[in-house]
Symmetry: C2
Subunit: 335 residues, 2 copies
Amino acid sequence: MNLFVIQNFELQCGIVLPEAKLGYQTHGELNSDRSNVILYPTSYGAQHPDIEWLIAKEGILDPSQWFIIIPNMFGNGLSSSPSNCAECGLAEQGFWFSHWDNVRAQEQLLRKVFGIERLALIYGWSMGAQQAYHWGSLYPDRVERIAALCGTAQTTDHNRIFLESLRSALTSDPTWNGSGFDGFPDRGLHTFALIYASWAASPAFYQAGLYYQFGYSSLADYLERGWEANYRKRDPRNLIAMIDTWLRCDVSDNPIYKGDYALALASIQAETLVMPSASDLYFTPADCQREANMIPKAKYQVIASIWGHRAGNPYQNPEDANFIRQAIALLIAPV
Amino acid sequence: MNLFVIQNFELQCGIVLPEAKLGYQTHGELNSDRSNVILYPTSYGAQHPDIEWLIAKEGILDPSQWFIIIPNMFGNGLSSSPSNCAECGLAEQGFWFSHWDNVRAQEQLLRKVFGIERLALIYGWSMGAQQAYHWGSLYPDRVERIAALCGTAQTTDHNRIFLESLRSALTSDPTWNGSGFDGFPDRGLHTFALIYASWAASPAFYQAGLYYQFGYSSLADYLERGWEANYRKRDPRNLIAMIDTWLRCDVSDNPIYKGDYALALASIQAETLVMPSASDLYFTPADCQREANMIPKAKYQVIASIWGHRAGNPYQNPEDANFIRQAIALLIAPV
């Protein structure tokens, strides 16, 4: 991983980080006219190695053709995060990262390190899609295409309640002291993982017992090894920090759009592929379609899947991966 | 409320209650041939006063025509429950109530107190629907009609994860000592209420902000007064006990059907109205329809509503109430 450092970076919450750190990974070669750049931001809980699977020759993002940059989201433990930054905190300390912060830092990385002014594509799933919408809205003349999978440009009220339940699961733990943790929140993390598992895959997914084909011996085994174990790898403060970003996701909550959500979406000039999963319980097709209708050059295409929210990150799921690969190939085909 | 006491009642978990207590309320008059009986079991967290609103002249259940009995579910705080029974515990103590227990106790109440052998209708929403399915399957020749709103005869895996997350929210609280609570679980109950609110109403419900019309000033206000305050009225052990019943809901898990789910459903002889809500996130239309297909005289009819699971208990929702009222009128009309 490479590290890009920004001195005295003022966050949207008002706090200035003396050294904001942006961890990133690249794949492929930047061509001479810098026209082959794909930005691929991280999703909730993920670090760049978790999402690199789809970068492959003839994969969804092909590094033999494209220069692909994965910027790690603030709060994910590799870029500046509560776990690695003395000045960083949580909302309890009046501290939070926003996508405005993520996107401005990424813009500096691209420009100052690589001299990149234009992006051929921003590809993002879930919180990655949120960042993609922010990019398209904040730098409309610099983003040619957006692929926004299973995400919205503004967090809905219903999504907010899910997020508050996740946050409350962690801050309900006995180790929570009101501003941080005095130990590892085993109880809270267990609840957290159950909530996540109940929301991020669909009823039909569980009905079909699809997880058995990946070596899990029971529902309980799947919940523990397939869900809880992954979140236990993360610092619980970082899990909260990323929730705090998600809760505040609003493409118009910035000095440019000043809360005018319709204007922020209408300003996106990119060819935008809005791609929800038919069975996503929290970024619902209806919510995604409503936003697609507000984006001038949006195409709305549903992934017909029972994988729920996870259809948009189909690392175990060749059928949905193939569907997405074909849609992206069409989106980035030379005209 | 009336109380029916059963001496030495053996529960399905193997524990014998010296005095099992069944609290119940009646409305209307039993006619001379006992042909006008409607059984109306309680739902999760509810006590009989909470569900009496639909009993009204020209309401969904009309007490001028029908003799309506509401039996309180074990664990709800009025019938035998952890809060009022020394012998009662939680799964941690190897103790749980099942619907097999609920239905057998109700059967004794009906027979011994009222001499009732046949039911014109069992009307149930959510855990009430679970009890209705159990009745129809365990006493097929004694149940003429079933109205099962927003419930299934067997708890699905997906539903189970939601329930485990609710349970874990409570047992994550600092006051949980491994077998009970050393105080009121404020933190856990807060998480619990958020989880419930996120599941039991739909994305579209929150999108439409329907709660504002009931005097709530904000989403936070609605979550606190509209959800959390109601669950705070209940003993947290009872909240767990009812989850433990729900987790074990399986119409075939009893000595009669010995796990043969298809046979248990096929045995239901009642005219059965299977009525999910189109936007129910945990008793999904697909799950309800699958069961309807297995019940010989089932009619499947969806409530077209954005109220989510709560469409089936439409006390604030005249449109859905009217739809249900008409469907029930048709179900119980003289042939």
